[in-house]
Structures are given as structure tokens and as C-alpha cells.
Amino acid sequence: MKHALKPSQYTILAVIMLSASIGDSFLKRGMEQVGAVNLSHLGLLWHALFNPYVDVGIVLLIGFFATYTTALSWADLTFVMPATAFGYVVIALMGRFWLHEQLSLSRWIGISLIVCAVAFVAGGPSRTEHPELDQMDAGVGR
């Protein structure tokens, strides 16, 4: 069982937690400037590519996908999953401290539950080891 993660692997998990939610916020902000896209206004999608908020959002989402894929190469899916849910906490806290929105009690409870989920999996091993399966897979994959 592998318990300890390298510092670089913690960095990857932190990028997963932040990139998707911040990327989504940038995309949302950019698309609000671009306007509603529908089938008769598909040209706006091309226009959206020249919006800096949309561009930063796309770069962040590509970064999310790359770090998520990297994490899955050394950790279980059920270990990485709570990190992706943490994005909801990031969004809610950004709204609270950046946009000064009021958070209801139920949202605070939701935030603490997601934080608990991260703590639950972080206390256990990051990877289920299957010596015989991994050997078979290594022969196929490399």
C-alpha cells in the first residue's frame, strides 16, 4: 500500500481542486460578455475564441484534464474524486469572499461535508495495489 504522496503529487491534486472551478468561472464571465449562443447564432462561438476570459478558461480546463489524467496514473479514481468535488467549495468560497455573497447555512453544511470527504480519503491509501494485474497490464501497455 502506498500511503505517502510526493510533494509534486500534492501540487497536482491542488491544481485539480482549483483549475476546473476557476476555469468554469472564467468561461462563464467570458460567455456573459459574448452573449447567448444558439443554433441561429453559432458564429458567436468563433467570436468567443477571441474573448480573453474564454481563452483563460479554456487553458485552465485543459490544465485540469492534464492534471486529472496524471493523477489517475498514480492514484485510484475513488481517491482523486473528492478533489474534483472540492471545486464546488472553491466556487462557493470565491462567491463569499470575492463577490461578498451571503452563504446560507445549508451551503456551509455542504462545504463542510465536501471537506470531510477529502479528509476521509486522504487518511487512507492513494492506490489499490494489484501486483499480478499490474504486471499483466505493464506487459500490454509498454
Partner: protein, 129 residues
């Protein structure tokens, strides 16, 4: 009983979640097959690591599912309220991922991870409402 319109919304939500689970499990399976990307990058450089990922069939299939998931999500959001579809899709995806990780990826989903999954489901529903 659900009205036909509600049935339609929920079947689209279910479809989006199933695509997400299929995509994530395929990608996880492909990455497990490939091994630690940091090691591959140390040996073959960043280009080599990207090449190895893109040459993995399961990863490509999974990425395709995720792309389909993205577009079907846009469709779902056009027929359902964001505050319903967003958390519903996320919650179904978490439960589906945990079950699929146990049976297809043979991950040891112990009590700790089930508890985490339940916390995420309830947490996301409460936060995103």
C-alpha cells in the same frame, strides 16, 4: 408519478452521468495500464509522456466519452434548470464512479471511501442548490 416532461429531463440527466462514469473509468483504466506518468516523463520527456497517453486506446475512448458528455451536458442544461441538472449529474456521477471503480477497476472501495462518496453527494447537492 413523474410527468413525461420530468421523465425526459431525468433520462437526459442519467444519460449524461452514465457517459461521465464511462469516460472517467476508461481514462482511469488506461492510466493504470500505462503506469506512473511522472516516471514516463522522466524517461521519455513531456512529449513522450503525452504520446504514450494519446496512444492508449482506453484513454482515447474515455476522452471521447468525456467530449460527448460535455455536449450532452450542454443539451441537458438547455432543457433543465442548472440548479437541478448540475448537482443531480454530479451526484449520480460520484455514486456511479464509486460502484464502477469497485467492479471494473477492482479498487478497494472501503468504508472510508463510501463515506466520502456519500458526503460528496449530499455536500454537492447542498452547495450547488
Amino acid at each position: 408519478m413523474m410527468t413525461p416532461a420530468e421523465m425526459h429531463v431525468w433520462s437526459v440527466i442519467l444519460f449524461v452521468a452514465v457517459l461521465a462514469v464511462a469516460g472517467e473509468v476508461m481514462i482511469a483504466s488506461g492510466m493504470r495500464q500505462l503506469g506512473d506518468l511522472d516516471d514516463i516523463r522522466a524517461n521519455r520527456g513531456l512529449g513522450g509522456a503525452i504520446g504514450a497517453v494519446l496512444a492508449n486506446g482506453r484513454f482515447v475512448l474515455g476522452a471521447l466519452c468525456m467530449a460527448l458528455n460535455f455536449f450532452s451536458m450542454l443539451f441537458a442544461l438547455s432543457i433543465a434548470n442548472l440548479s437541478l441538472a448540475g448537482p443531480a449529474i454530479a451526484a449520480l456521477t460520484y455514486v456511479g464512479n464509486a460502484v464502477a471503480a469497485k467492479f471494473f477497476l477492482h479498487e478497494r472501495v472501503d468504508r472510508r471511501r463510501w463515506l466520502a462518496t456519500m458526503c460528496m453527494v449530499v455536500g454537492v447537492v447542498l452547495v450547488a442548490r
